[in-house]
Symmetry: C2
Amino acid sequence: MPDFSIGVDLGGTNLRIAAVSTEGDLLEKVTLSTKLALGRDHVIGEMCDAIQSLTGKYNQTGKFLGAGIGFPGIVDMQTGMLRKAANFPGWENYAARAEIERRLGFAKNEARVVLENDARVAALGEQWLGAARGVSNMAVLTLGTGIGGGIVLGGKIWHGMNGMAGEFGHVTIEPEGHPCGCGNRGCAEQYASASAIVRMAREAIASGEAPSLAKAASSDAGFGAKSIYNLAIQGDEPARRIFKNFGRYLGLLLADLVNVLNLEMYVIGGGASSAWDAYAPSMFEELRQRSVVYAVTAPTDPLGNSPGKKETAADAKARIERKTIITRALLGSDAGLYGAARVAALAG
Amino acid sequence: MPDFSIGVDLGGTNLRIAAVSTEGDLLEKVTLSTKLALGRDHVIGEMCDAIQSLTGKYNQTGKFLGAGIGFPGIVDMQTGMLRKAANFPGWENYAARAEIERRLGFAKNEARVVLENDARVAALGEQWLGAARGVSNMAVLTLGTGIGGGIVLGGKIWHGMNGMAGEFGHVTIEPEGHPCGCGNRGCAEQYASASAIVRMAREAIASGEAPSLAKAASSDAGFGAKSIYNLAIQGDEPARRIFKNFGRYLGLLLADLVNVLNLEMYVIGGGASSAWDAYAPSMFEELRQRSVVYAVTAPTDPLGNSPGKKETAADAKARIERKTIITRALLGSDAGLYGAARVAALAG
């Protein structure tokens, strides 16, 4: 049996713990609900119990390399402290790594515990086993309530100085735009996230020119980005316009990243990314126009890189010529789980 | 005597060739004018003659490691071709590296010729011997007619896939802004370059509300960014406002870079950077507001990092705590020369 590590996806709703071999095989996955109301000690306790149960089971047959934990907030890589965590009240400035190591009974120089931002580990997951398998230098944009980001260089997460590289959601794309929770205005996540889609729909409803959206919003208790997407694919013009704008803003953000980083691949993931066919045309149009690097290095048919389509000879040629590829994520929410396991294996 | 390499700064006006030791000592520098009108063969010939003269002189005492050439245009790193070069008519798609190697009579596996974009080598120069000495991960923004950029990671130029990483001048900072030569609108170099300062002055003059600027423009044949700066430091309000806006736009660009890259240091160089005292306050204000990463990682007194000021104990502490530093370049136009020599030494 091969060596293995543990990957943890510590989300606001679900707590998932997986044992993953160094070859990328899922040995076992445990899914719990994250009982935030019972306090952080309880949540960390349940997580550590699951880690111990899995390691006890699989370290008979392979070496345990460590545990990686993806967390939706700002993580101080040097100290292992959680700095900011919007959906985890009471977890700020919490020395999580030390507490987890204590509970797991890890001695120094033994298996490691690595805390990481969830979007960074998702990037590593897609690079290891997903859309960017075999691509050394890439970035992932995770379009959810906000926008998460991760950069992988040479097959490893690029942390920057304090683990904060990849804050793509706070790149300014509209200087006098909507205020953002970070204190800035016009951040990308105010325009190219699931929340942005809903806000644009509410604006369209308020203008009185989006009757289908108004009807859906009043009749559908779960009205959200998905309902708006459903209207868009049925041809509803105001809904289509929302995704067109979403694509434009995402294209602008991507153009900035392409001009700054000149990576081989940019992977679009997260819930809102699944509306690909509704926003991709305007995204690519904007990207071509705004990125001097993309204009020089784009494949002839960027849509040919969509994962729904089989790779054509022309696509393969484009890949070989090392053109800039923009494509969809393949692993869904498992990207973070695999990436967290990978980060522990690389550190171990 | 130590080993040495040759650095070349091939500019539109001057052609400078220097022999530099691996320890960073300038052994000798030759400055010629770039006789573009005589054609590229003539210019390359003069450059190669100077390289041979210097190597002949210094390879008696130390090993010659190679020649690095910084060029103001897009360079294809893999093929050694010059791709785009606005101020070098007839040099596009020119296999410059092969031609230079042929003229120098370099055999394979011998000393190397490395062609690089001029802003990338300037970044490496500042990292090796300038403002970022001892800082492994940093970027340089060169504010001239346009904006050049270079990223250094782990002490080496980060090229990206095709040597095009660092195109900071084409990051969109005003989505519906001024058209740029690259085909985009609202590129950073339309707002935070020497040309942008002159354009903003012409706009102020046209508005009829900048009498001092109007007077300077009509009486001063060499009216440019420097004349506008002189008015600003004399307290002329319209001139001050131009630098304030320049600082805001530069701060917005820096905030994007800080959020994406989380580097230890960002160095501002180029002719327009010398107006630091006129634009730095609004630059830092914008940066604090727009960058979530900078807000968390900024030194308490960012102005304390200005090179005009001696480092205080607080500054030193901030450096040690690995805060984001924004500072001025130290090497001026020699950054490119040293960086080009360094790139050849690292490749050799």
